[in-house]
Each structure stands twice: as C-alpha cells, then as structure tokens.
C-alpha cells in the first residue's frame, strides 16, 4: 500500500496552538448560532492533531482512523452543549483518549496506560532536558520508541502545549504523575536520540 504524508493528503493551512484555540471557539459559537458550515471546519482543524495523538496510542493506522471516526461520532452530538468553549481541546482529547482506550481494552497497552507512576518529587529540582538540538523528524521517530505513558504525555505536550493540569485531566491521572511522566519521558527521549544519532 502506498503511503503519503498527512499534509499532502489532507492539505489545509497550519495554525499555531493559540490561533487554533481562538478559531475553534469562534467556530463553536457559529455552530451554536446555526451556521452549518462551522462544524465541518471545526473538525478539519482538529482531525490532524487528533489523528497524530491517536496514532501514538493504537497499534495500526487503520485502528487510528476507526478511533478518530468514533471520536467524532461521540463528540459531534455533544459539541453544541459544551459549557466552556475555552476547554474544547481538553474535552476533545479526553474523548479521543477514552475512545482509544476502549479500542485497546484487554491489550498490554491498556494496562500500561492505566498504570500510575510515582509522583514527581525527588527529581523536582533537576531541570528537565530541552530539545533544541533535535529536529522535528528526530523527535517524531524518538516518540515511537518511548513507553506508551511517556509517549502519550510528551505527544500532548508537543502538540498542544497543554499544562500539567490539562494533561492530568485528559489522562485521568494526578498532576504529580503527569510531571513525573513528562520528566522521565524527556530524559528517555534524549537518551534514545543521543544513542541513535
């Protein structure tokens, strides 16, 4: 089967996280006001990052598409009733995660994601490594080699720049666990990339 880059297939202009948030809120309002074109636009803004996130959780591309479709089936009927449009992205990623977990149920990945991690405390004073030296291509490849909980936390961080509290809300784990996962994920990713490059 021939594969192409997502951007080549789907197209569409890229937006920064902040712009995406504002545009989403605007489209949500238009959708509530009865603009029928707002919803497809909203979906087209979010399907790329959601697909990227889901693809990091499930085993195959086919599963990722199925999960993404299921995400819209669950989210679309409830979008109009969403109380806080500012929390749209967190809400959407939570649905995506829960849908992916349902898909992964009874697999080793599910147990991995459900595991809790020791809260971030001991290494709190140690600065987490940054990634200025690595390109997006290297980070993309490195993510695939991380443990699933680390990969998930770091993907959310890289994609949407979510705060610890937001990642905790999406992943249903305490904030301390998120801090710990992010810290360990950065260390592990750096080690992987330095070893391979």
């Amino acid at each position: 089967m021939r594969c192409v880059l997502y951007s080549e297939h789907i197209g569409g202009a890229s937006l920064t996280t902040h712009e995406t948030q504002i545009r989403s809120e605007l489209l949500l309002l238009k959708h509530r006001a009865g603009d029928e074109k707002a919803l497809p636009q909203l979906v087209s803004i979010w399907e790329r990052p959601l697909f990227y996130y889901i693809r990091r959780l499930v085993n195959s591309e086919e599963d990722a598409w199925d999960v993404l479709q299921e995400v819209w089936c669950r989210a679309v009927p409830k979008i109009r009733d969403l109380r806080d449009p500012g929390a749209f992205s967190t809400w959407l990623y939570t649905i995506a995660r829960n849908t992916a977990l349902n898909h992964l149920r009874d697999t080793i990945h599910f147990r991995e994601l459900s595991e809790t991690e020791a809260d971030f405390a001991a290494s709190q004073t140690v600065a987490a490594p940054l990634f200025p030296a690595f390109t997006a291509e290297e980070l993309h490849l490195g993510l695939a080699k991380l443990k699933l909980p680390h990969r998930e936390a770091l993907t959310l961080f890289f994609l949407e720049d979510f705060s610890h509290a937001e990642i905790a809300a999406i992943t249903s784990v305490p904030v301390g666990t998120v801090k710990s996962r992010l810290y360990n994920a950065k260390i592990a990713l750096r080690a992987i990339l330095e070893k391979e490059l």
Binding site: A33, G34, F158
Partner: protein, 213 residues
C-alpha cells in the same frame, strides 16, 4: 512554551495511507448529517399528519366558503393560505422522515453570508405571516353579523400573541447579540494572533539578515 512550528512539523511528518484516509472521509460525511432520533422521527410523523390534516380541513373549508356567496372573500383566501401552510409542513415532514435527517439542501449549501440573510428573513416572514393573519381575521370579523364578539376574540388572540411572541423574540435577539459580540471579539483576537505571528517571522528574518558585528 513549545516552538509553535514544532507542532506543525510533527503533524506534517505523519504518514497516512490514502485509501484508509478516503474511507474515513466517506464515513465522516454521515456524521455531519443530522440523523433523526426516534423521538424526533415520531414528532415529524405527527407534524406530517397534522400538516396533511390542516391541508384537508382548510381546503374543504375554502371550497365550501367559495360556494357561499355571502361569505367574505377574505375568509376564503385565509382558508386557502392555511391549506398551503398545511401542505408545506406535510411535504417537509415526508421529506425529513423519508431521508431520516432534518436538513435541507437550501440550508446546507448556503454560504455564511446567505445564512446571515436567511435567518432574519425566515424570522421576518413568520412575523409578517402572523400579523397578516391577524389583520385578515380582523377584517373578516368586521364582515361577520356579530362583530363585537368577533373583535373580542381577535383582541384576545392578539394580546396572547404579544405576551408570548414579543418576549420570545427579544430574548432570541439578546442571545444573538451576545453571540455576535463574542464572535467579533474572537475575530479581533484571531487577527491579533496572526499579526503577532507575522511580526515574529519578520523579527527572525531581520535577525538572520543583520550582519554580525
């Protein structure tokens, strides 16, 4: 904060199979259709029956009054309008129940600008229809033998309409205004974000082009 370009670069690196993406896009189309829930389906079936009932009833009344030379012509016209109103609902109901979705091509294909024109137009048409109906009823009441009783009924109807329709219209207008204000605010915020992004790109370009001392 992350480098905003990192997000875009990561998304661009995701590899997809066109066949799978096309299959997903096909399935996605069905999600946007407003499928009728069982309750809505029953409601639309009832609305269709009601519309058909109005059509039969008003058509029958219009034909009967047409044969009566003493009956005011405006009454016959009103019954005919009522019959058309019922027929419209029946056709709409049949179409929705048959398709299983409550959406019209006219609405689905309208641009945002057209939608902004259509919404007030539909509200205005409903309002004008109600006012015309009341005025016509008033005229018909004047032609009736017992005009005082007819006038009382019309007056009562108008008061009831004013009591319910006007506050509802004002509340609807208030909500629309609030949404409109928030929408404009977000549009400005979006433009500012885009300008900030452009300014950052320009800054970077300037730094790159400035020769080192």
């Amino acid at each position: 904060m992350n480098n905003p370009e990192l997000r875009d670069r990561l998304l661009e690196l995701e590899i997809v199979t066109p066949e799978l993406a096309a299959r997903y896009n096909e399935k996605k189309k069905a999600i946007f259709e407003r499928r009728l829930t069982p309750t809505l389906r029953v409601m639309w079936v009832l609305a269709t029956i009601m519309g058909a009932g109005f059509f039969v009833l008003f058509s029958y009344a219009a034909i009967l009054t047409l044969q009566d030379p003493g009956f005011p012509r405006i009454g016959t016209i009103l019954f005919s309008v009522g019959a058309l109103f019922g027929l419209g609902w029946a056709i709409l109901g049949i179409s929705f129940v048959k398709k299983g979705t409550a959406s019209l091509e006219l609405w689905n294909n309208a641009t945002l600008k057209q939608m902004q024109t259509m919404h007030p137009a539909v509200a205005g048409m409903t309002w004008v229809f109600c006012v015309l109906l009341m005025v016509a009823c008033q005229m018909m009441a004047n032609d009736m033998p017992d005009t005082a009783r007819g006038n009382q009924m019309i007056l009562g109807g108008m008061v009831a309409m004013l009591m319910f329709a006007i506050p509802t219209m004002i509340m609807g207008h208030d909500t629309k205004s609030e949404i409109f204000m928030r929408e404009k605010f977000l549009e400005i915020e979006l433009q500012l974000a885009e300008l900030r992004k452009l300014a950052a790109i320009n800054d970077n370009n300037n730094k790159e082009n400035t020769p080192d001392d």
